[in-house]
Symmetry: C2
Subunit: 190 residues, 2 copies
């Protein structure tokens, strides 16, 4: 909670989060992090002994943040459509950062992730899917959303639109992602 600069461990974690979304688990190294913090790569190992430990903390942090977002949205007086748009907005932010979402990153690299973190990854995906599913169900009950699938399947459709949408956007451009965003909401409120 220092005001001057975050402690080393949080600084490492923050950079690792960015690198996970920009490059993926296998493509970044401790040296990349060390360079940005002007320290030796071996020094990272004091804070995170193995790369698997660092990945575990990245995933756990995302889980915490999504739980927090869930609470925040539940305590707000936003309607379901606004809640969904908050969620979509988090994806839109990624476009300008040359990043994909954490879920798409770990899902693509899943076969190469340390066994010790695979369960956490599954937990993150389950959490986020549940959030979207719940918002869809709520919106349907409120009468603001209309859709024919189960809330869970519709949640999967939307999450895959967003996850692969940001992946493609790095190649084909931002306009494609904006069109996807728009279509997701339009389909629901038709």
């Amino acid at each position: 909670m220092s005001e001057k600069q975050p402690d080393t461990r949080s600084a490492i974690l923050s950079i690792a989060r960015d690198l996970m979304r920009q490059l993926g688990y296998n493509a970044f190294s401790y040296a990349d992090i060390a360079r940005k913090l002007d320290m030796k790569n071996a020094a990272i190992h004091y804070h995170y002994p193995a790369k698997a430990d660092l990945l575990a903390d990245v995933i756990e942090t995302y889980i915490s943040e999504y739980r927090q977002l869930e609470k925040q949205l539940a305590g707000s007086n936003l309607d379901s459509c606004q809640k969904l748009q908050q969620f979509i907005g988090k994806y839109a932010q990624l476009i300008g950062q040359n990043s994909i979402c954490i879920i798409g990153s770990v899902a693509s690299d899943y076969n190469t992730l340390p066994e010790s973190v695979k369960a956490k990854v599954a937990g993150l995906i389950s959490l986020v899917t549940g959030m979207v599913e719940h918002t869809l169900q709520e919106g349907r009950e409120e009468g603001v959303f209309r859709f024919r699938e189960t809330p869970r399947v519709r949640a999967l459709l939307i999450m895959t639109n967003l996850a692969a949408g940001v992946q493609l956007a790095r190649i084909t451009g931002k306009a494609d992602f904006v069109a996807i965003e728009q279509a997701i909401v339009d389909q629901l409120i038709q």
Copy 2:
């Protein structure tokens, strides 16, 4: 064209295609390929001097195959819905192979790909998107498909459902992908 076994270069290419979809560009090595062919990793370099050359051939081969599929479907008497289902079926095959699709693989790793192949990747994505777009447009004109978006945007929605669908399926299970498949077609023929 040998009947006994494919030549070394094609064998390398075939394994590289699988590894690209199972592990991604950064996570497989020449040693992985050499091991499966019982040769030294350095021998791969005779056939593909640099890893970028191997990736380029993988992408070009996919482009050729998709062009061929395009011709084959155009020359068939399948209706648009059957054509789309052929396309979706190619994704469904991946599920049992612990693989994601080539587009999702290269899109996720895009920032780390050799500059020399990025344009080819963009070409592949443009080709496949165009195929789906064309099938959707045709189906709408035939009256078998109904949708409100432009064919291009609808193609993006479907491609992102499929690409991220296979990514998630490795973690959450095949049932989720089957539900996505079903929903894609159901939405179009409603």
